[in-house]
């Protein structure tokens, strides 16, 4: 196995890790914090890099666990997903282009309304283009569980599509 370099192999994962953390926490500042935390933890484990099957999967697992931890810690003061809070989470993720595009905005909200597991799987599959096997490894699930959760996520999006078709935006 080739030598793993932090600068060339691990640091470039930052965007991917950030997107996953953002998908789970729905908060940019928090997501950035999580990525930083992840990279430092991974750096401190540099003696074990060679024993890992995939450093990327390992990093994504650490990021997800940190993001879930933080989300759960926030759960205490958390509110349920009501129409108001859905608006709130959207507002926290500033993407200028998206705000201009009503349709994209709608999809964004739709995806972020999904339960964490489905949301994470959607992120890893439909945005990062990962295989079911990789996702299963990252999330500690079986491939079947990954597929079931992805199926639910896509069906929910499809259902919304049909609703939009029937009633308009």
């Amino acid at each position: 196995m080739e030598e793993i370099s932090f600068r060339n192999d691990i640091l470039p994962l930052k965007d991917k890790l950030f997107r996953l953390a953002l998908r789970i926490t729905l908060n940019r500042a928090e997501a950035e914090d999580i990525v930083q935390d992840t990279l430092i933890r991974v750096w401190n484990k540099r003696d074990e890099w060679q024993t890992l099957e995939s450093v990327e999967a390992y990093c994504l697992t650490v990021t997800r666990n940190l993001a879930i931890d933080r989300s759960q810690r926030k759960e205490a003061q958390n509110m349920e997903l009501t129409p108001e809070t859905q608006e709130l989470t959207d507002g926290v993720t500033p993407d200028r282009q998206m705000e201009r595009d009503e349709q994209l905005h709608l999809i964004h909200r739709l995806v972020n309304e999904l339960p964490e597991k489905q949301r994470t799987i959607f992120q890893l599959r439909d945005i990062e283009g990962k295989s079911y096997k990789e996702i299963a490894e990252i999330m500690g699930l079986t491939e079947e569980q990954v597929k079931v959760n992805l199926f639910r996520a896509r069906q929910r999006i499809r259902l919304k599509y049909n609703e939009i078709d029937a009633y308009g935006l």
């Binding site: 950030f18 999809i107 945005i127 283009g129 990962k130 199926f151």
Partner: protein, 162 residues
């Protein structure tokens, strides 16, 4: 052209049922990133365009700088290790000095063995004599070393010539 769209429609159907491969899903994203999309498929554009646009999100280069600075810190830890290695020359010097002393001691010992043979000889003789029962039979203790000395000169003289 129509055939192409049939393929895309099929892909979308299979996409909902999670039967598409990662490559096929990539084809869908590529297809919907085009500017010209037939009207009946336009409703799906936002989903796949969203997937593609989300791939662009990332962190700035100032983040790299911050992380690398943070990473530098453990090298302070590493420096603590080099501090130990930095003492190595000192340890080596101490070892060399110890070696010089011990070798020097041996040298001095062997040199004094050669030069001061008389002294050591007398000392040895004295010691041996002190435990030798023969001493009891000898006469005056003051006389005997004198007798010895008179016996010795030839030996000492020979040593000095050498």
């Amino acid at each position: 052209m129509r055939m192409d769209y049939k393929y895309i429609e099929q892909l979308i159907e299979r996409y909902w049922d999670c039967e598409t491969s990662a490559e096929e899903e990539q084809i869908l994203r590529m297809f919907f990133s085009q500017t010209e999309i037939p009207a009946h498929l336009l409703r799906y554009k936002s989903l796949f365009a969203y997937q593609k646009s989300e791939q662009e999100i990332g962190l700035g280069s100032d983040f790299d700088k911050r992380i690398l600075e943070e990473i530098e810190r453990p090298t302070v830890k590493a420096r603590r290790l080099t501090l130990q290695t930095r003492f190595m020359p000192l340890f080596k010097a101490a070892a060399v000095i110890a070696l010089i002393f011990s070798v020097g001691g041996v040298m001095k010992h062997s040199l004094s063995d050669g030069n001061g043979a008389g002294v050591i000889y007398v000392h040895d003789q004295f010691e041996r004599r002190s435990t030798d029962p023969q001493v009891a039979y000898e006469g005056d203790s003051v006389k005997s070393p004198l007798e010895k000395v008179t016996e010795q000169p030839p030996v000492v003289g020979r040593n000095h010539k050498q």
